[in-house]
């Protein structure tokens, strides 16, 4: 307030803000929601665009993670590498080894890189302790947070290997390392203990360089390191660019839709804020005339009216930043979990840029009509409300008045033509609200379709396994865009203390066939295979029997119908430059088969390549799971219980499949879509509310006249509601196709981000009835915004309204 002083100007500003409480509140709430929405959208856009960069920067991640042979290079020599040109920071040497632990259930985890560090901090790779504490003595270990799950939690133990006398390691915490310099950390002494059991121990060094943003720069940096130590001393390096590439692939899917919501939010904010402020100033012209008549200068008038807009807007902006940060926090937390990166928070510049931009928009929106007010001739300003209005909208009243509808309705229908700019703002608000709703409905429906299409096993009523279900360790989540290692019983060639019993597939098959109520079933094995032309292993689903009920959605071609066929994802075709009809050479264990590609599957599993083939192609392959459909009228629960009773003594098990639950990433996207839509729809509703309030306030005298000559409260209400009817209908008619188009643009982009096309079942999610309802949504939105002012108009005292000018 000091900006406007405590004198006459300050008093005018205060009274203006206080007198128009509703408008003040609407300005504050509209800016609050707009800013909160923009902060959430902006935060998510930043987080989705560069979660890895943020986490990596925060942790001072290692540009190069290098492994040295401690026999050929000493710690002192390694410390000297920190003085090499271009090196800005180093950490290490840390003793490092690889081991393959066995969890409490007896399942072997993938091979883990264990690094001995005395703490999480350092000049490089300041890893975040997500939970628990850092190991303080041998026998304690922390794991990367991506391994955390029901079977692997703080307090649970791991065996260092499958050997009977293997050391027991207690999990004391979980850690997030953006640069993924290791999978597990312990004290240096613990690493030495494991090393003394025959595992090779290397020296890990972490480096940050001045220039490390390109592959060429990394190669140059690596050369420097290699040259600084003796020949053969540098065993290997890992570039942060490889880690980043994998991380960005995981995040990429959310970028298109968050960008779409962010853009919608920002455009809507501009429209609503401009409309609110211009309206607020525009309806005060007579007051402005009075101020000028009593001696206010044009500049003072401008300042007074800009201030009246900025004060509630400022409050709304401040509250919006706080609310936006509060709302963004859990979503960013989910994003953090999803990406396995360090803790994310709203980018500081989002908290600065959004309010600053909003303030500028509000200021400009207020300044333009305020300048108009400042230039207004005093006599004309005072005459506002007294002198007859002429011109705009009269033709509409004449034309619409002829419609065979009740007079209050036709009068209301013509009202929007009196203020075309305000009507346009209201129309855009409704249209954008409808776009957001239509897009969100399509997005959530598409994501549900994606979830359902990927959960192929979940379609069967009962899952039968050749092992006990509680012996199946949950696979660790993929390390960002990568594939998870399948849990394998520890007994495969390793002497185990708790080797799980495995039922013979033939006996399981026989039990299923004999069980009353069996409808159909097929067997499945999930395994790794080698494919000619692809380095490394490829996941393969091998099927026995008629597996059509568990087939993936096909983008082209068809699902496997027998031996000699293979179905592959889009990324497989791209990577191998093959197409449907081509033959690929697949090796399972020691068997090789030439398989013809018969179909392109819709597979959203990111970097992972999963192919699908008939088990008959490989004689040694046996199913580990049977997916069973029960006959009509048969209770799946009872069926599973009876079958489990038969199979459990054999080592197998059976259980019903829980209704398909959406995966985390889909839930996050759904939550974001719903939240952002609610906020955008609220802003749209407030935009309508504000415009109708302005209209009602301007017309309160006319409404008083109408009431004085016999218009009933109900007729008054129908007049006001009719004034937004056309806006709601047209807004819906514009918003639904626009939202539909946006969905059809964004979904394929999201698909491309994870390396697939989208099938029609995912794209064509709108039914005619749904589209009609969404179109009506525009009407409902407009009506909702107008309902309160319509009620006020109906209740307004006629005598008071008649005195209003």
């Amino acid at each position: 307030m000091s900006l406007f002083g405590t004198g006459a100007l300050g008093r005018v500003v205060r009274s203006g803000v206080g007198r128009r409480r509703v408008q003040t509140v609407v300005i504050a709430v509209a800016t609050l929601v707009a800013v909160a929405s923009a902060v959430v959208a902006g935060s998510l856009m930043v987080a989705a665009a560069a979660p890895f960069d943020r986490a990596f920067g925060k942790q001072r991640g290692a540009h190069i993670t290098a492994q040295f042979d401690p026999v050929k290079v000493s710690a002192a020599q390694l410390a000297e590498t920190g003085k090499l040109a271009g090196v800005t920071a180093i950490a290490g040497p840390y003793p490092s080894t690889a081991f393959r632990p066995v969890d409490q259930a007896g399942f072997r985890m993938p091979t883990l890189t264990l690094v001995g560090r005395s703490g999480p901090d350092g000049d490089v790779d300041r890893v975040d302790l997500k939970s628990g504490r850092w190991p303080q003595k041998p026998g304690e270990i922390v794991l990367a947070a991506s391994f955390e799950g029901p079977a692997i939690e703080i307090g649970s133990t791991l065996k260092a290997s499958g050997a009977a006398n293997a050391q027991t390691l207690s999990i004391v915490g979980f850690v997030v390392s953006a640069g993924k310099t290791a999978d597990a950390w312990a004290t240096p002494a613990q690493v030495e203990v494991l090393g003394s059991e025959g595992r090779p121990v290397t020296s890990q060094m972490l480096y940050r360089f001045e220039s490390a943003s390109t592959k060429e720069q990394i190669l140059a940096d690596r050369k420097k390191l290699a040259a600084s130590v003796g020949s053969g001393a540098l065993l290997g390096t890992r570039s942060w660019l490889d880690t980043k590439r994998a991380a960005d692939q995981g995040a990429a899917a959310t970028v298109p839709f968050v960008t779409a919501f962010g853009a919608l939010g920002i455009v809507m904010s501009v429209i609503i804020v401009s409309s609110v402020i211009s309206g607020a100033v525009g309806t005060s012209l007579r007051r402005i005339g009075i101020l000028k008549a009593i001696g206010f200068t044009p500049r003072e008038v401008v300042r007074a009216y800009v201030a009246q807009a900025l004060i509630p807007a400022g409050a709304g902006i401040a509250a919006g930043v706080v609310l936006g940060n509060l709302l963004a926090a859990p979503l960013l937390g989910d994003t953090q979990e999803m990406y396995g990166t360090a803790s994310l928070s709203t980018a500081w510049w989002v908290d600065v840029a959004v309010p600053a931009t909003t303030l500028v928009v509000v200021g400009l929106a207020a300044l333009i009509p305020a300048l108009r007010a400042g230039r207004l001739r005093t006599v004309e300003a005072i005459a506002v409300g007294r002198s007859p209005r002429t011109g705009r909208g009269q033709w509409a009243h004449r034309a619409i008045g002829r419609l065979p509808l009740p007079r209050p309705v036709t009068y209301g229908l013509a009202t929007p033509f009196t203020h075309p700019v305000r009507t346009l703002a209201m129309l855009l608000a409704v249209a954008f609200g409808t776009v957001a709703t239509t897009f969100a409905v399509g997005l959530t429906s598409s994501l549900s379709e994606v979830g359902a299409s990927q959960d192929t096993d979940g379609r069967a009523a009962v899952t039968v396994t050749t092992t006990k279900l509680n012996n199946v360790a949950p696979p660790p989540p993929p390390p960002v865009g990568g594939s998870a290692a399948s849990p394998t019983p520890a007994g495969d060639g390793v002497a185990s203390t708790s080797k799980p019993k495995v039922a013979a597939p033939a006996k399981v098959r026989s039990a299923i066939t004999s069980q009353a109520g069996t409808g159909s079933y097929y067997g499945k094995a999930q395994s790794e295979v080698a494919v000619a032309g692809i380095s490394g292993s490829v996941q393969a689903g091998l099927y026995e029997g008629d597996s059509r009920s568990g087939s993936y959605e096909m983008l082209s071609g068809h699902w496997i119908t027998g031996k000699g066929q293979v179905v592959v994802p889009t990324r497989f075709l791209e990577r191998t430059s093959t197409e449907i009809g081509d033959t690929v050479r697949v090796t399972y264990e020691k068997e090789t088969a030439n398989l013809r590609i018969v179909g392109e599957s819709f597979d959203t599993s990111g970097n992972e390549l999963e192919i699908h083939a008939d088990m008959a192609n490989f004689r040694s392959a046996e199913p580990s799971t049977f997916l069973v459909g029960v006959m009509p009228g048969v209770s799946a629960d009872e069926y599973a219980q009876k079958l489990a009773a038969v199979l459990q003594p054999l080592g197998g098990d059976a259980a019903t499949n829980a209704p398909s639950e959406q995966k985390g990433v889909i839930l996050i996207m759904d939550a974001m879509a719903v939240l952002l839509t609610l906020m955008l729809v609220s802003v749209a509703g407030l935009g309508v509310l504000n415009s109708v309030i302005l209209d009602t306030r301007e017309r309160v005298h006319d409404l008083g006249v109408c009431k004085a000559i016999g218009m009933s409260p109900r007729q008054t209400m129908s007049l006001v509601l009719a004034s937004v009817t056309a806006i709601g209908v047209v807004g819906g008619l514009i918003g639904v196709p626009a939202g539909y188009a946006l969905h059809h643009v964004v979904m394929p982009v999201m698909g491309r981000a994870v390396g697939t096309r989208m099938p029609s079942s995912v794209l064509d999610v709108y039914g005619p009835g749904e589209l009609l309802l969404l179109g009506l949504g525009g009407f409902v939105l407009a009506m909702s915004g107008a309902l309160v002012p319509a009620g006020w108009a109906a209740k307004a005292r006629t005598a008071t309204a008649l005195r209003t000018e």
Binding site: T390, V705, C706, A708, I709, S712, A799
Partner: protein, 230 residues
Amino acid sequence: MHQLIELEGAAKRYDSASAPALGPLTLSVAKGEALAVTGPSGSGKSTLLNLVAGLDKPTDGAVVVAGRRIDQLSEHALARFRREHIGMAFQFFNLLDDLTVTDNIQLPAQLTGTSRRKAAARAGELMEMLGIQKHARAYPGRLSGGERQRVAVARALINRPALLLADEPTGALDTASGHDVRNLLMDLHRAGQTIVLVTHDLALAEACASRTIHLVDGQVALDSYAQAVR
């Protein structure tokens, strides 16, 4: 004589701590009578008009118009009552600037559900009677003050109300237009229209009214009818 308006101890207070703005007042207006209400500013003239029109409710007493206790009616019923029994003409005309002269005049008829054809016929009749038929398609903003007041009177009469209330009908007019309106009111009274006219203009009151009451501080200081009876 049949009474069209009856106020029985009607009083209006805007603030419970202060004296009433009007009354308590007991007053009757007969059918066909033209009552002029005069008095200085703040004497309660407009309050009286608002109570009779059902635009406001008394804090005490009763207001009966055309046999209905209007102070007990709901807002909805009051609106129906007004459109059927009362026509109003205001100092600043209160025409709707968006509507043509014809549409303004027809509006109260349309609110009652009268057909478009009948409303147009009645509006045409009134415009001819008041000499404004040439402005039928014009907008109020293009008319002179006197013409606008004629349009307002036509609108007030469209539903053939039992009672015409006129609040300072010449207050915003030049002398010539004021004469026009005065003559119009005189004609209407002669035709049997019951009129309550609130005015500062004693000449207008004298010319148009069959009875004048003078209000001071919310009380009737002078009633020409009572004087005549005495």
